[in-house]
């Protein structure tokens, strides 16, 4: 009897062990496509670039160890680095809030149940659907060019007396890119819409009973209930906009006078136009640390403004 029970237990254990082994095998088999890519396309390149950022390297000849000189040069002797950092920050600080405010405004507008609501939403979304493409960048360059439609409208309305080069003038060039970014409000708008739908109607009903006006309802109910979604959008949009490249490359090429030289464009120029791969790797690591710090800052700030229902008010 005792013996039987013991073998019974050990049999069960053995079976469990076998199942565990099988699960481990199957699990790693299934996540292999991701794990392999993670190691080969992320960890190894990152390690390589960390090493190369301390070297002088032009791809053709082997890298030469130069210690911290890349970083020292970047911080002390590279005005274009500071310029690109400044441009990128100005761009992000203007583009992200503009895009998100516009997205939230439209989402609130479209939560109202109206006829043709779906059609409106579709039409408003389409520009964002195509926004990242080369076709739109090419179009934007013409739209705001000296002979573009924007000038043509302003001239015909008598607001402008002479054509103005919105894209080529130092004071407006970056704005032409910011407006393009704001125009791409579609994805955050849809995310806001889905978030707004999840706010329980009972909250609005009780607010109405209490006699709250529209502004009070919006600031006391809508915004706090939506804050996790706002948080998500802020994080994703900030990271995305720091990485802007195609638009600046096609529309302004960093001109005039580096006024639209966004960071990735500068990194691209250093790496591929000047063939300074070591220097470019150092630039990439600096950007990585800057973005990590900003993301961490947004996460750390979240307890002060993001409201999670489960924690209670």
């Amino acid at each position: 009897m005792r013996l039987e029970r013991r073998t019974g237990i050990s049999l069960e254990r053995r079976r469990q062990k076998k199942r565990k082994g099988y699960n481990n095998l199957a699990g790693y088999f299934f996540i292999m496509p991701w794990l392999f890519g993670f190691v080969m396309l992320m960890i190894i390149p990152m390690g390589m670039s960390l090493y190369l950022s301390f070297t002088r390297y032009n791809i053709l000849s082997p890298p030469v160890w130069t210690g911290t000189s890349n970083f020292v040069n970047i911080f002390t002797d590279d005005p274009r680095f500071w310029q690109s950092l400044k441009v990128t920050f100005s761009y992000v600080v203007a583009a992200v809030p503009l895009r998100l405010i516009f997205a939230l405004f439209l989402a609130v507008l479209f939560t109202q149940k109206r006829i043709m609501g779906n059609l409106y939403r579709t039409i408003y979304y389409i520009p964002s659907l195509i926004g990242g493409s080369v076709a739109v960048a090419v179009m934007w360059r013409q739209l705001f060019g000296v002979y573009g439609a924007f000038n043509s409208i302003l001239l015909s309305w008598g607001i402008l007396e002479d054509s103005f080069g919105w894209i080529t003038h130092p004071s407006t060039a970056l704005w032409s890119l910011i407006i393009l970014a704001a125009w791409q409000f579609g994805s955050p708008m849809l995310i806001f819409l889905a978030g707004l739908k999840q706010i329980p109607n009972s909250l609005y009903e009780s607010a109405a009973i209490d006699g709250a006006n529209w502004g009070q309802t919006f600031t006391r109910i809508t915004l706090p209930m939506l804050s996790p979604v706002i948080f998500f959008n802020v994080v994703m949009q900030t990271i995305n906009n720091f990485m802007m490249f195609t638009q600046a490359y096609i529309i302004t090429e960093g001109r005039p006078f580096d006024r639209t030289l966004v960071y990735i464009l500068y990194l691209f120029q250093r790496g591929f136009s000047y063939n300074q791969m070591g220097y470019a790797c150092a630039l990439a690591w600096i950007m990585f640390i800057v973005i990590a710090a900003i993301t961490a800052f947004i996460f750390k700030s979240s307890p002060y403004w993001v409201y999670y229902e489960s924690k209670g008010g």
């Binding site: 565990k20 699960n23 199957a26 699990g27 299934f30 996540i31 292999m32 496509p33 991701w34 890519g37 993670f38 080969m40 396309l41 992320m42 390149p45 390589m48 670039s49 791809i59 109202q112 109206r114 043709m116 409106y120 408003y124 979304y125 389409i126 520009p127 195509i130 990242g132 493409s133 080369v134 076709a135 090419v138 179009m139 002979y147 439609a149 000038n151 043509s152 409208i153 125009w183 849809l190 995310i191 819409l193 889905a194 999840q198 998500f232 994080v235 990271i239 195609t246 490359y249 096609i250 790496g271 791969m277 470019a280 790797c281 990439a284 690591w285 950007m287 990585f288 973005i291 993301t295």
Partner: protein
């Protein structure tokens, strides 16, 4: 009561009026691009803001299609289609595999790897461009499609996450029942999970296709021979500083390059909007 109805109608009129006027402004650039692709060369600049061409210049499309140096846009579009098609297919297979592994199999280190994957969601991809380039260059992959396709085949975390979210909605009892019936992890994946995640696969497929179709930076880095160019890169050839830009032709091909994007959007709109909303909400 009499007073209430006109007020309601007034509100409705001002709502629709506002949305339509704003919508026109928002949509105007798209209409303008289409109109300009049908305008004559002089007209593009003279009456720049008008949306109605005085005469329809369909020859812009013919001229644009002719392409550069004997390589037509037919070639560029089929290049794009090849890159996007193979990449998207690989993406779907690998991402659904990984998503299933993370959500349904209890293996050693599962939580750790999942956390690592979520963390890489926040990693800006452009930071890796230079080291990846050096890596692919060492492999001799420059001027091939491999650097464009291979990274997609190894499951991007965004799609793993999206599909994993979806799999979590499938009741685990189905897996248990199948296990009792003698199914292994593989047949559970193919018989139970796969048929149930079709909507998530469609959503992921659309996103993957869009990103790959619109991607400009990656082909710009890797593709050097013109006949290997995807459409996104070929469009920029029109503005070669050494020759006079044929604006009409460039706009015409721009419009054409957006047609697949529109068609997919119109046929799968529901999947797209749901995909965007769920990835945004559930994290």
């Amino acid at each position: 009561m009499k007073k209430l109805i006109p007020k309601k109608i007034m509100g409705s009129i001002s709502y629709h009026g506002f949305v339509i006027v704003l919508g026109f402004i928002v949509f105007y650039p798209v209409l303008w691009l289409i109109a300009s692709s049908l305008k004559g060369h002089a007209e593009i600049f003279q009456s720049a803001h008008s949306l109605i061409p005085s005469r329809l210049h369909f020859e812009n499309y013919l001229e644009g299609w002719r392409g550069f140096g004997g390589i037509t846009f037919g070639r560029f579009f089929s290049n794009s289609l090849y890159i996007c098609g193979v990449g998207t297919l690989g993406q779907l297979v690998s991402a659904s595999f990984a998503a299933y592994g993370f959500t349904r199999i209890k293996f050693l280190g599962r939580k750790l790897w999942f956390a690592v994957m979520i963390a890489t969601l926040l990693l800006p991809a452009q930071v890796l461009r230079i080291p990846q380039y050096i890596f692919f260059n060492n492999l001799g992959w420059v001027d091939t499609y491999k650097p464009l396709i291979i990274p997609q085949v190894f499951a991007q975390p965004f799609f793993v996450f999206l599909i994993a979210q979806f799999i979590q909605g499938i009741p685990f009892e189905l897996d248990e029942a199948a296990t009792i019936d003698g199914c292994g992890k593989f047949s559970i994946f193919f018989r139970i999970i796969l048929p149930n995640i079709i909507p998530a696969l469609i959503t992921s497929g659309i996103f993957s296709f869009y990103w790959s179709w619109n991607d400009f930076f990656t082909p710009l880095l890797y593709i050097q021979t013109v006949h290997k160019y995807p459409a996104s890169l070929a469009l920029q050839l029109f503005s070669d500083p050494s020759s006079v830009t044929n604006w009409g032709a460039q706009f015409a091909m721009s419009v054409l390059s957006l047609v697949p994007v529109f068609l997919i959007f119109l046929s799968f709109q529901r999947y797209l909007t749901e995909g965007i909303s769920t990835t945004g909400l559930k994290s």
